[in-house]
Amino acid sequence: MVFIRDLKREFFEFISKQQRRLLVFVHLDVDSLCAWKIFQHLLQCEHITYTCLPVLYKYDLENGHMQHINSGIKSMIFINCGSTLDLYDFLSLDSIGNDDNALTLFVLDSLRPIEHRNVYDAKQIRILILPNKIDAEKKRVPQYEELFHEVYDDDNNDENESENEDNDDDDDDGSNMRIESTEGREKRLKRQWLKKRDKALGNYYKYRSHSYSSALVMFELAYLLSKDTNEQLWYAIIGTHVLRLNHHQNTTRSITDENNPALNTSNSKLSMDCVNIKFDEDINFHLLRHWSFYDSICHTQDMILAFKLWSSRGLAQLKEFLADLGIPKREYEQNYRDMNIKYKVNIKKQILDKRLQDKYHYTTNTIILPTFLLSSGFTLKLSPQDIVLSIMATLQTASSSSSTSTSMMIDLTERFSLALSCLNYHQLTDYLGGIELEKVYMNKTHYLIETLLQSDKNLSFDNTIPFILLKFDQNMFNSSTTTDHTTSCGFFTHPYQAYLFARNALQTLIAYTSASSNAVKKKKSKHLQRLPLILIAPYSSTNSGEELVEIVVGVPSLNSIMMNSFSTLFEAADRRCGNVAKFVFFDHSVLLLQEQHQQKFIDALMFVLAK
């Protein structure tokens, strides 16, 4: 069966019995890093050798495969990449190979929908999922009978014609009329079946989403092998927090259900030097423990929306709010960790106070979040949100040295190993470095969004266009406060980062227009709430500096944020304008485009969306 039921036997023992080196492709995002850490620990326990390749683009997969194809590798593992590709075609695997050379591919991916051809090929591809979710997964993919038919299958048309003729063996008496009607009937049935199949496929592929985290699946494997320790649990926790942070999923219930047997309940007896993970309700301000309280609130997206912090009136209201909480100015402007403890103790209670909630119109379900905290000895308490942000910032920041294509691969491995070391909770230097990067990035983002709101020139929306178009060009980045971390092109370097930025921009824009006193703008905001946002920004330039490559991200409208149908929409638009877009990322709702084709693509997209 393609979906692995028993992670331990069919996956891990299969690999360890092979006694060969493993090839692992790890996508460059936080969830896959956590899953990789857990998996690496398991491999080391069993002394299995492996080669790990970080990938960000599709061609990285191909290159890696080409490089290692002759080194006697029998199993390949894909973490958070490859389930949306038709792996057979993509890697040009020989499906009728000898049994000796048979490669087995294991795919562990949180992106859905899985490519249907991957699911229905039981020979070489296996898909790793949580064992108790197998039935849900199977139900989601359309049935085999709907998609494949020996006679009607689309691929070889000529063969079908000849097979149709063979079917006439039964009607031997053959008056022409009878043969014709049989043929006609066959063709009609075939058309009907094809139409049904296309509809099923269309429905299946319409919405792209993320399901549970890959790190959770890896932790499940570790648990089955009885090698789950607090460390692995921590990595799994971070992995699930990624999903919550980036993709609005409420995963806390699933975490607590699955972790209750694993968490140590008698925490009081545990020695202080051990890794101690506690479940707690925590205040969710951005990087709370690394900034002053004031800065932290100013950069939390929810508080920005609630207090409208782009305006000076909003800032004044925030100060009033802090006064209501009872914290003096001197306290909230110094580092949170140095704040007087009597204020810290009361903050949570005060924020939950109903009276303040009504006065300032904020909701607490995103501020007070149940989460986990790691404390080990006398070091900093670590919270998963901060770690996720720190790792994302590290992954985004390209090293400032060079930009040639040969060093892209080296750049990836550098970013990968730096981000992996951020996960280490003993040595906190890289983690703290990542936090600093995140602060810089946050400041930049805010500056960009604020300039965006003040001048409408980069935005265009009106009643004819079915989406909000947000265009950045290079000048925007030059004028902001730059440090030597980012050049003018290098701001958007990662697909998820661009997606998050676009989503935040959309939220801020809608809040801004709905709160503004201008009546025209207010009317617009109602219209805006139903529109999705498309962000186009410079990504990188080729060596000559003339051709600019841009990154295009689509964010669905706020009303239906969970249903991202942009992957299919972009593909359709691309087909219309002659295949100019480059789908280099695994997630098709983010793509790269050359500047000269920009207008063409936008026109095609408008046409597709208008339908």
């Binding site: 326990c45 320790t229 607090n230 007896k269 545990l270 020695s271 030097d273 051990c274």
Partner: protein
């Protein structure tokens, strides 16, 4: 004998572990160990227990002499008596260090036990020093000490050898009166 040798020898003691895998009996030179059944505690030598723990195949069961209460009791007795009290195991200090390095999670109140162990160690060492001083001053030819652990013996062995030798040489050099 060095401290390293003492450590090596100490790992031969038996300790109780709870494995999470299944394996038939293993026949070693000193005796046989096993069979291993998941969740069934059994006695293994400490070197094997450390190896199993580091590959995440077992869990330690805290030995009785390493619980908080028993260590506290030991400390109290040591504080009351002037001579050395018997130790439950000839390798107490080294073993407690080794076990806590590897399996801190399995020992409840591990950090407090560490503190108590340190107190115990300091106390015994102080007693040792004063008794050596008495020995040197009294000029006796031999002294009898009981209930010392191997590590402590190891510590003072070299020192006592050379210092007593020097004292004897000096005494010989002084003309008899």
């Amino acid at each position: 004998m060095d401290i390293d040798e003492v450590q090596y020898l100490s790992e031969n003691e038996l300790i109780s572990v709870v494995p999470n895998f299944k394996h038939p009996e293993i026949n070693l030179i000193r005796g046989s160990v096993g069979p291993f059944l998941p969740l069934v505690p059994l006695q293994v030598p400490i070197w094997m227990a450390i190896h199993l723990k580091e590959s995440h195949r077992c869990r330690f069961v805290c030995p009785e002499w390493l619980t908080f209460d028993s260590v506290q009791e030991l400390l109290r007795q040591e504080q009351q008596q002037e001579t050395f009290t018997p130790m439950p195991n000839p390798y107490v200090f080294i073993l407690s260090q080794t076990i806590m390095n590897v399996a801190l999670e399995d020992i409840p109140n591990g950090d407090q036990i560490r503190l108590l162990m340190k107190d115990l160690w300091d106390l015994r060492l102080a007693k040792l020093r004063s008794s050596i001083g008495n020995l040197a001053r009294s000029g006796a030819l031999y002294a009898k000490v009981t209930h010392l652990t191997q590590v402590e013996i190891c510590l003072i062995r070299n020192f006592l050898k050379t210092s007593l030798k020097h004292i004897a040489q000096l005494q010989d050099a002084v003309p008899d009166e």
